[in-house]
Structure formats: C-alpha cells, structure tokens
C-alpha cells in the first residue's frame, strides 16, 4: 500500500512537470515583438544619469532635451550676425553678410554633401527645382537656382547674394522650413558656398 502511494506521488510529480514544460514551450514559442524578452540585472542597463531622449520630471515640459537658455552659445558654435526673420532682416543680411569661410575644395565637398542630404530632396541635385520629391509629386513649386526663375522676395534666383541664401536656410521661406536645427552656422555657410556654384549653371 505504501509503495503504491509513493508511486502515485511520483506519477503526480512527473505529470506536473510535464504540464509545466508544455506550457513553457507554448508561451516561449510565440515571441512578442513588443517585448525585449528575458533580461538579467536590468539595473545595470538603465542609465543613472538622464539620457537626452528620456522623460524627465524635473523639467516643466517633462523632457530631458531642453533648448539652450536665451543668449547662450554652445562651445565651438560660431554665431554670425543675427538678422531678424523679417523682410528688412533679409535685405540687411543680403547686403551685409559675407561668407566667412574661404572657398576651398574641402569646404565645397562638405557643402555638396550637406546640400545633397538637406536640400536636394526638393531642390534637386543641380538646384533646378526637380528633386525626387518633386518628381514623385509630393511637393511642388520649387524655384530653380539658375535660369530666369524669380525669387518670391524679388530679383532672380541666380542673383541672390550669400547673405540672402544664408538667411533663407536659417529661417526658411514659404513652404520651406528653417534648417537651423539641422545645420550649424558653419555648415550653412558651406551649403551657401555650394549653392552659389549651382547658381552659375547656364
């Protein structure tokens, strides 16, 4: 009698472990793409300091990435004369601002790179206003840098001065947005240098 009870218990143990195994296999079989899976010592993964993309309750808007305080300039950031985003500011920038960078091959190569990444989707590789997004009919009305295309702020596109181009990159115009957050002032000047080469295309 005693033997049969122990045999029964043994059977129960085996049966229970069988059930656990089956359920474990079933649950692990469907991998949930929204889960990061098993993790060990999670606290070694989580940063102690705040990462820029993390929420942060210490700030009013709840984000760690804050805009720099007014009137401050980051280290290594060349700020050029600031002209306001008005028609007067645009004209003044056009008259007074000159490209501070020397026209070297290196600067032009960098300018071409930034132009290809940030401008050519709409303005086209050659600045003819026929970028990929224009060709697939996502955006339209992009003026050409050369030929007889007119600027909406007066004059021909090919006659725009460096300062005016810089002002437009900084603030945007009409449907074009400001590219100041993507291009640092020095990078903008490199783009201006390259755009002025494209203006010369006949």
């Amino acid at each position: 009698m005693k033997g049969s009870i122990s045999a029964m218990n043994k059977n129960k143990v085996v049966l229970a472990s069988f059930c656990i195994l089956a359920s474990a296999v079933v649950f692990s079989a469907c991998k949930d793409p929204q889960s990061t899976g098993l993790e060990y010592a999670r606290n070694m993964y989580d940063p102690i300091a705040y990462n820029p993309d993390q929420p942060n309750k210490n700030f009013k808007n709840g984000a760690t990435a804050q805009t720099p305080p007014a009137n401050t300039t980051p280290v290594g950031f060349n700020k050029y004369d600031d002209y306001p985003n008005t028609k007067e500011g645009y004209e003044a920038a056009g008259a007074n601002l000159k490209n501070p960078l020397p026209e070297t091959e290196q600067n032009l190569i960098a300018g071409k790179h930034y132009f290809t990444v940030f401008c050519s989707p709409c303005h086209g590789e050659k600045g003819d206003g026929q970028g990929h997004l224009v060709k697939i009919d996502k955006v339209s009305g992009i003026p050409s840098y050369h030929g007889d295309a007119a600027s909406s702020r007066g004059g021909l596109m090919k006659d725009l001065t460096a300062g005016k181009i810089y002002h437009t990159i900084e603030y945007g115009l009409n449907n074009m947005g400001s590219h100041a957050s993507q291009l640092s002032p020095d990078e903008r000047w490199k783009v201006v240098m390259y755009v002025q080469q494209l203006q010369k295309i006949q």
């Binding site: 045999a7 029964m8 043994k10 059977n11 085996v14 049966l15 472990s17 069988f18 195994l21 474990a24 296999v25 692990s28 991998k31 793409p33 929204q34 889960s35 990061t36 899976g37 098993l38 993790e39 060990y40 070694m44 993964y45 989580d46 940063p47 102690i48 820029p52 993309d53 929420p55 808007n61 709840g62 028609k87 290809t116 990444v117 940030f118 989707p121 990929h132 997004l133 697939i136 996502k138 955006v139 339209s140 009305g141 992009i142 003026p143 007889d148 007119a150 600027s151 909406s152 702020r153 945007g172 009409n174 449907n175 074009m176 947005g177 400001s178 590219h179 957050s181 993507q182 291009l183």
Partner: protein, 431 residues
C-alpha cells in the same frame, strides 16, 4: 418638296456635325486648359498656394470663384502697381498676409486663364487610386493562405479522429457478431490510462530523458538570448513609416538623424524637422480631404493650428517615442566614429552596395521597414567579431592621419602631450 427635305436634312446633318465637333473641341481645349494650368500652378504658385486651404497665400479655388478674371490677371502680373494706383479690391487683397506675393510679369493672359481654370476645376481624380486599393487587397492574401493552411490541418486532424472512432466501432461490431464477449477496458478513463502508462519503467525513463533534454536546451537558449533584443519592435506613438520616408521618398537618413555624423547619438529629430515637409504635405487625398490623423499628431505635439497657420508654444507636448535600440549603460558606442571614420571599413566588411547608406550595416534595410525593429543583436560578441575582422584603411582618413602624425612624432622623440591625442575632449572624462 423633295429637294427641300434633302436640303433640310443636309443642313441638319452638318449642323449636328458642327455642334458635336465644337463640343468635342471645347471640352478638349478645356481639359487642355486645366492640364496646362496645373503645370503652371505646380511650377510657379504651389510654393505659396494650395487649392483647398490657406497657406502662405489664400486657398485658390474659393478665391478664384470669388474674384473677377480680369482683376486676377492684372493682380498676378503686377499687384504692386494695382495697390499703388489705389485699387480698393487690390488693397483689400494685399492685407491677407505680411509676406508679399511674387509678381509674374512674363505670364500671358492665356496662361493665367489656364491656372484660373485649373483652380476652379480642382485636382483631377487620379487613376492610380483604384489600383492602390486592389494592391492593398493583394497583401491580405498571405494572411488568408496561412489561415487556410491552419484550417486544413485542423480539419484533417478532426477527420482522422472521426475515422479512428468509426474503425473502433466497426471492429467492435465484428467482434460482437463473432460472439466474443467484450471486456469494458476501452472505457477506462484517461487519468487511469495515463497512470498505467507511468507505471511502465521504460516509458518513465524515456519521458525523463526527453524532459531533461528539452529543459536543458530551452534553458541554454534562454540564457543565450537573455538581454538580446533582436526583433524588438515597439509600437510608436506616431505611425511613422521608414518604408515611406526612407524608401519611397528617398530622404537621406541624415536629414532627420543629423547627429549620427557628428556626435555619439544619432538623435531623434525634434518635431520642427517634421514640419519642414509636413507644413505642406498633409496626405489629405488619402483621408477624404481631412488631414491625416498621424500628421495631425505632429501638429498637436508642436502646438500648430493648420487652419490659422500659427504655432502656440503653450500647447507644445513632446512626442514620447519608444527607444528601439537600447545599449546597456556600461557600453559606450559612438555613431560618428563608425559612420564617418569607419565608413569604408564597415562598408567593405558588411558588403554594402554603393547606393546603400552605411547605416544599413547595423540597422538593416530600414527603407523596407514599415515599423522599425532591432535588426542586429547588439551583443558584445557581435561587436567583437566585426572589430576583429574589419580592415581599416588609414589612407585619406583624417582621423588616422592624425594618429600616424602622432606616431611619427614619438618616433622622432619630439614632445607629445595628451592634448595632442584628443585628451582635451570634454567627453573623454565627462561622458
């Protein structure tokens, strides 16, 4: 009499032909007008004007229905002259926005009339729309086929069970006819049957062996994959499609992730970068003239009112994107070091095509991902293997020329300081 009727018939015939022809010609020229007008509109007007809504300039369809054609032509040619001449209608129209409209003195009367015709007619319906809906129906097929296969398997199992029962019944009937007395062993319950099975020592041994092997391999795999997030694909607050933006629209990775080339982080774009395009791109054609709900989420985040084209800073609400690639805090990874300095080596090592961005080496074919998922395991072994094999070319690489310079100085016995080797970088200590 007969002549008269013939003449009438002829006249009627020619009149009919004439009207039919003229109707055809008129409709054809009108269509031509609209097509021509659309071309000019897209080329010259659409950077400021939309047909159905205000942007930099007023919504054109409504405006053209309201204004007189002769006035519009004069206005487009040189509105400034009209305002200077004291035209009341022009002065009123100029008040729409502080930004001034471009003048188009070179456009002819016909060209401007074509644009007006286009603005009044509106955007022609595209033939592609119907094709698009059938295409989406096609993609559903794969789901259907999987469901079909599952259904077939289930049905065949059911058929097998039923057939098995039927065979048993028939066997019983045969035995009964032969006069064999049946013991009711078939009615033994399942639990008792399993118990009997577990009394069999061979079966118990085999079962335990299976258990050990499967648990062992399961545990082994589980431990290997602990902390490995390959395939992680969280649902993001905005249904941003990399397939559309990086694939169809061919926008460079760096346009949005501009930090990847100059800093440690690839940087998630702030919403103002989205607005560079989505100020005008609203995908209204896919939502019956309404702004796409996903694009509306951008507007909500940045506090933008598409009706008045104004931003309200107090309504800003950052988008809470969910990070896909989580490197543990104790591992340091720098994007610019790989994307700029190591580009050539990585391209060669991972066999990338020249038209593919170097980012694909680790992030996979992002231009085909509707929703982004983690492509590479990001484990230490994965890093180490690449670092062992990738071949660095020091030629024409500004980073390595500096290293070589420093080595030359050491060789010559010149003074060399940590500052020369980048020891003044803030991030060397404060990371």
């Amino acid at each position: 009499m007969r002549d008269i009727s013939l003449i009438i018939r002829r006249v009627w015939k020619s009149a009919f032909m004439f009207t039919a022809l003229s109707v055809l010609i008129v409709s054809a020229t009108q269509a031509q007008d609209v097509v021509e007008g659309r071309k000019i509109f897209k080329d010259k007007c659409s950077s400021c004007h939309q047909l159905d809504r205000n942007s930099t300039g007023p919504a054109l369809t409504a405006k053209m229905n309201e204004l007189d054609e002769a006035f519009t032509i004069k206005w487009v040619r040189n509105w400034k002259a009209l305002v200077d001449a004291g035209d009341k209608q022009a002065i009123e129209a100029a008040k729409f926005s502080p930004s001034e409209m471009t003048t188009f003195p070179t456009l002819t009367d016909d060209q401007i009339k074509n644009v007006i015709a286009y603005a009044k007619a509106g955007e022609p319906k595209k033939e592609g729309d119907a094709a698009a809906t059938t295409a989406t129906a096609d993609t559903g097929v794969s789901d259907f086929s999987i469901a079909g296969i599952v259904a077939i398997i289930l049905i065949s199992i059911a058929v097998l069970v039923v057939l098995g029962r039927a065979i048993k019944m028939l066997e019983r009937l045969i035995l009964q006819k032969r006069g064999v007395v049946l013991t009711e062993e078939d009615n033994v319950s399942l639990v008792v049957g399993v118990r009997r099975l577990f009394k069999n020592k061979k079966f118990v041994f085999f079962f335990i062996l299976c258990l050990v092997v499967s648990l062992g391999s399961f545990g082994w795999m589980g431990m290997w994959n602990t902390g490995v997030h390959t395939g992680y694909q969280p649902v993001q607050p905005i249904k941003f499609s990399h397939e559309l933006h990086a694939g169809t629209n061919q926008i460079d990775c760096q346009y949005c992730h501009s930090g990847a080339f100059k800093s440690k982080n690839a940087s998630i774009p702030s919403v103002n970068v989205c607005m560079n395009c989505h100020k005008s791109v609203q995908a209204t054609e896919k939502y019956n003239g309404e702004i796409s709900p996903e694009i509306q989420k951008i507007y909500t985040a940045i506090g933008y009112d598409p009706a008045t084209l104004t931003y309200d800073k107090s309504k800003e609400k950052p988008v809470e994107w969910i990070r896909v690639h989580n490197l543990p805090d104790f591992a340091y990874f720098n994007h610019s070091q790989h994307v700029v300095v190591g580009e050539e080596a990585i391209r060669k090592q991972k066999g990338l095509q020249p038209n593919e961005p170097v980012c694909f080496a680790c992030h996979g074919p992002v231009n085909t991902m509707e929703e982004v998922y983690q492509f590479s395991p990001l484990t230490m072994k994965w890093c180490i293997n690449c670092h062992k094999d990738a071949e660095i070319s020091g030629k024409d690489n500004a980073f390595y020329t500096k290293v070589i310079e420093a080595h030359e100085k050491i060789k010559k016995g010149e003074k060399i300081t940590p500052a020369l080797l980048g020891g003044l970088e803030c991030g060397k200590c404060h990371y």
